[in-house]
């Protein structure tokens, strides 16, 4: 039986109980320099009066504290993380070596010093263009949502250049990732949702009806978040383009068709990639990721700058698309993570890339097949093959036994699995969104399926027990109301300390 470590580890501020002076890291002081610069001339009114209340700890105390915390955490290296739309694939260890390319180089160094980095960026720009079927890619964007935002800004500027300021609405599918509408709104657009039909695909009649002159673009992911391929994509492209609107590809789900079909060939004009999903950059507990934003035809002129180009055999960061929306990141995006994807793609080669979509799709459909007899795991359009992910509804468990998708997720945790994405997409009630990825073995998929079956069964026989899970994790279910209440909300230790002293009000 799996058990997660439980350390009751104190906050780092409360570790040193002796009050002894300790420091985990000594500063290299140059006495000769200090003897020459005798005093500091900082204006008196600016000097810090109280030293910051940071802990005083030895190196071991700090290391042990954080190693203990790591033991109360769960990553792909521990077990399957079947989070739908997150593509939690294995992160090959060789990737960590690749950061040697970028680690010690400053982004503003002379270009002659960084030809290796620029060559890598240049090659990746070309590889991602080929992979997506687009003309050009900019690697400025540090994550997927930043890519979306860049894409929507490109759409906006493109229409402005063409005097189509009346285009004020971005369409998104009702199955879209929450980032799509959020990105569109940040760029100043109105958002309109396109309903899915009973098959879980974009409803073509509704689409035809709502697309008009005001439509600036349509943000779509394909396969969609139900794991279904939008088979009418060519018709969708026609409808969108008939009003000069732009078709935008949210690359979060590319893994399901990687090497099989390219967004560029489907009719998309702009594509973003999440390299921390499809191209194996580790998720880091939430980040950093990396991204690419790619475009076709006239829209390449709007990509964020700078891009790398080759001029007389030398790589230069000099390419600025003529109508560029500007810069998205302070320098050139998350280049340290681009290096990780670079190593990953080299390891796959063209033959490996071709297998990603196939093997991830195989894993999903295999899992569905293993669970097909469980009638409490319901599917929209059960006869359609899924691609990278599948969304089950446990609505029946909820209705008949009071067991929710959240309860099922917590019960999975108790078995040493991470949980699927839950309650997404919103059109599916009590949704469990599962993306196994191509890197999990058949044996793991079998175990996962068996466990899920068992949980569904337990939910029927002993729902209370499922609702009380998890019990094998570092901590049991958490009180969200307490976490968010204005009288108890505690975002920092400083607030906790001040509250203990009665020196802080309700958050209002």
């Amino acid at each position: 039986m799996w058990r997660q470590a439980k350390w009751n580890e104190p906050l780092i501020f409360e570790l040193n109980k002796s009050g002894a002076a300790r420091q985990g890291f000594l500063i290299n002081k140059d006495e000769e320099i200090r003897s020459q610069i005798k005093e500091m001339k900082i204006p008196k009114n600016l000097l810090r009066e109280n030293e910051p209340d940071l802990p005083s700890l030895s190196e071991l105390e700090v290391v042990r504290h954080f190693v203990r915390l790591s033991q109360m955490n769960f990553g792909v290296d521990i077990g399957i993380m079947p989070l739908g739309s997150c593509t939690m694939k294995y992160n090959p260890k060789i990737e960590e070596k690749a950061t040697a390319i970028t680690e010690f180089h400053h982004p503003l160094e002379d270009e002659d010093y960084i030809q290796g980095i620029l060559e890598m960026i240049y090659e990746l720009q070309n590889w991602f263009s080929e992979i997506t079927g687009m003309d050009e890619c900019s690697l400025q964007v540090p994550a997927g949502s930043a890519g979306e935002f860049a894409g929507v800004l490109m759409i906006k500027k493109y229409h402005e250049e063409h005097n189509r300021n009346y285009k004020d609405t971005i369409l998104v599918a009702d199955t879209a990732h929450g980032t799509n509408p959020a990105s569109a709104a940040m760029a100043g657009y109105k958002v309109m949702y396109v309903k899915s039909n009973a098959e879980g695909l974009v409803d073509m009649d509704i689409l035809r009806e709502i697309v008009n002159d005001k439509t600036a673009g349509f943000m779509l992911t394909n396969p969609n978040t139900l794991g279904l391929f939008e088979e009418n994509i060519l018709e969708i492209s026609k409808i969108i383009h008939s009003t000069n609107a732009v078709l935008y590809y949210d690359g979060a789900n590319l893994n399901g068709v990687l090497g099989i079909a390219r967004p560029g060939d489907m009719g998309f004009d702009i594509v973003h990639l999440n390299l921390h999903k499809t191209f194996a950059v580790p998720h880091g507990g939430g980040g950093p990721g990396a991204g690419a934003i790619c475009a076709k035809g006239e829209l390449v002129n709007y990509l964020p700058y700078p891009m790398v180009e080759k001029v007389n055999g030398k790589y230069k960061l000099s390419k600025i698309p003529k109508n560029s929306i500007g810069k998205i990141a302070t320098f050139y995006g998350n280049v340290g993570n681009l290096a990780r994807s670079f190593a990953y793609i080299l390891g796959l080669g063209p033959q490996g890339i071709q297998m990603i979509g196939k093997m991830s799709t195989l894993a999903t459909n295999y899992l569905i097949a293993k669970l097909r007899d469980v009638k409490e795991l319901e599917l929209i359009a059960p006869n359609r093959h899924r691609k990278h992910e599948v969304v089950f509804s446990v609505k029946q468990l909820m209705e008949n036994y009071g067991v929710s998708a959240n309860d099922v997720a917590k019960a999975l945790l108790d078995n040493g699995f991470y949980a699927p994405t839950i309650y997404f997409p919103p059109i599916v009630e009590e949704a469990l969104m599962i993306e196994p990825t191509e890197t999990e073995t058949k044996e793991t998929l079998d175990m996962f399926a068996e466990t899920l079956k068992k949980i569904v069964n337990d939910a029927k026989i002993n729902p209370e027990q499922v609702m009380k899970s998890p019990n094998n994790t570092s901590i049991a279910r958490l009180d969200q109301a307490y976490a968010n209440h204005p009288s108890t909300i505690t975002p920092t230790y400083r607030v906790l300390r001040l509250r203990r002293l009665g020196k802080i009000d309700y958050l209002k």
């Binding site: 203990r68 915390l69 060789i94 290796g116 930043a146 980040g287 280049v335 063209p350």
Partner: protein
């Protein structure tokens, strides 16, 4: 292809297809129109999957095409080279952390949640701000989000930004705010001191449309803004939000923004234990005062303390109703993937340094950067154009064109400062620049100047 280290089921394909009830892999894709299927290998990478040995060789091919410098680069512009303790690298290399996901399942993710809470808390102590989020992409995007946030709060459309704030951050801000019709008005700086021109600031803030006033401390030239508290007062008086950009290391020496009641603080955690990484990933800092109006409009994830059903202390994401996955187009930001692992690195770094270490390190950087400036200005006709005191970065004006100096530095495999104009350059000196390398920089520049004077 029937085996690959990252594809475990290649040899089980038939068995798995049988379970599914189809004959071939292609059958799983029969919903994709034939005309958009790509029936060829993609032209990427090498012509075959590489072994790990071969990948490593390719990596070092790239490393070799870069130039290994004689000394760490003397260039900053917001991110500077620093020594990174091995304990920091070790902790963020724990794969329980780096292969984990955003902690949406808190019971199984207490480790990263507590670590991020501690990052927020350590940063809060340094800034003396009450609420810190779990990271933004970088300083530029944090600044942009702060400006967007100010506009959401007060609906006003003008943001005052000093000319002496980091131009790279301003470039990012310009991109990010273009959809909202927010106008940037630049405030002049005093050409003698290098500090914000208070008169110009007061003049430009007289409009009633000022949404926010931004100041960078120390500013882009590395110079301390000695009137920072007055600037905050101007913002308060005009009911505009004050946004302060900070170099977190400088706060070992100077007053934290919380002590003069800044509304929003932004910055970059790169200087707290992160490599240069060719400019990314970086680590955007974002903090606000204890005010629900501000907290509710904050972008990004926040971790808070709570308790479990057995009354044990635990950690979870809080105030999630601000976020895109719940609020969609009404979210405070579209950000999801952030820089969590680097926030963890900042937390480990600050824990190692502690309250005395941060001051000692800031002092060391102060002394070394002043030593470099002093040595440089001992060369004939080399001057510092600004009179106010500085930290880590500083501007030097040369009697010859900076390009000539740069060429000479390149002969020695040195990376000098950032060229600001024909004759001026912005240098960065930290604890990784020892006396020998500073002296080498100075003597090489001296040589360059001499060679022009004698020719």
């Amino acid at each position: 292809m029937y085996k690959h280290p990252w594809l475990p089921n290649l040899d089980l394909t038939d068995e798995m297809l049988k379970e599914i009830g189809v004959n071939s892999l292609d059958d799983l894709f029969n919903d994709i129109p034939a005309e958009i299927k790509i029936n060829r290998l993609l032209k990427v990478a090498k012509d075959k999957p590489l072994s790990e040995y071969e990948i490593e060789k390719e990596i070092y091919e790239k490393v070799k095409k870069n130039v290994e410098l004689e000394a760490p680069p003397f260039i900053g512009a917001g991110i500077c080279p620093h020594y990174i303790p091995n304990a920091v690298k070790f902790i963020i290399g724990r794969s329980e952390f780096y292969t984990s996901y955003t902690p949406y399942q808190p019971e199984i993710s207490q480790g990263i949640l507590q670590a991020l809470f501690e990052y927020q808390s350590l940063m809060a102590e340094l800034l003396e701000m009450d609420v810190v989020n779990a990271s933004m992409y970088d300083w530029g995007s944090a600044l942009a989000e702060a400006v967007l946030m100010a506009n959401r709060i007060n609906g006003k459309k003008t943001v005052l930004v000093p000319e002496n704030a980091n131009p790279f951050h301003k470039e990012v801000m310009r991109t990010w705010i273009q959809g909202k019709g927010i106008k940037i008005e630049e405030v002049k700086y005093d050409k003698n001191s290098g500090e914000v021109d208070i008169e110009d600031l007061e003049k430009k803030s007289s409009s009633n449309d000022v949404s926010a006033i931004y100041v960078q401390q120390p500013n882009f030239f590395g110079i301390f803004e000695s009137n920072i508290e007055h600037i905050i007062d101007v913002a308060k008086h005009k009911k505009a939000l004050s946004i302060i950009g900070v170099n977190p290391l400088s706060l070992g020496l100077i007053k934290p923004p919380g002590s003069y009641e800044a509304d929003i603080v932004v910055g970059d955690g790169q200087e707290l234990g992160l490599p240069l990484n060719f400019g990314g990933p970086l680590m955007g800092i974002f903090a606000v005062r204890w005010d629900m109006g501000l907290v509710r409009q904050m972008p990004g994830r926040i971790v808070g303390i709570t308790r479990d059903v057995n009354n044990n202390m635990g950690f979870t994401l809080i105030l999630q109703t601000r976020e895109q996955f719940i609020k969609r187009e009404k979210a405070t930001s579209n950000i999801t993937t952030n820089e969590a692992l680097l926030a963890l690195a900042n937390a480990v770094y600050l824990s190692l340094l502690g309250k005395e270490g941060i001051r000692e390190l800031a002092e060391e950087i102060y002394f070394r950067s002043h030593y470099a400036a002093k040595r440089l200005t001992e060369i004939d006709n080399v001057i510092m154009p600004f009179t106010s005191d500085f930290f880590e970065e500083f501007v030097i004006k040369f009697p010859i064109e900076y390009n000539i100096i740069n060429d000479k530095l390149k002969e020695r495999k040195l990376q000098g400062g950032l060229k600001l104009s024909i004759h001026t350059s912005l240098f960065c000196v930290t604890e990784v620049h020892d006396k020998k390398s500073i002296d080498l920089l100075v003597s090489t520049i001296q040589e360059a100047i001499k060679s022009v004077e004698t020719s």
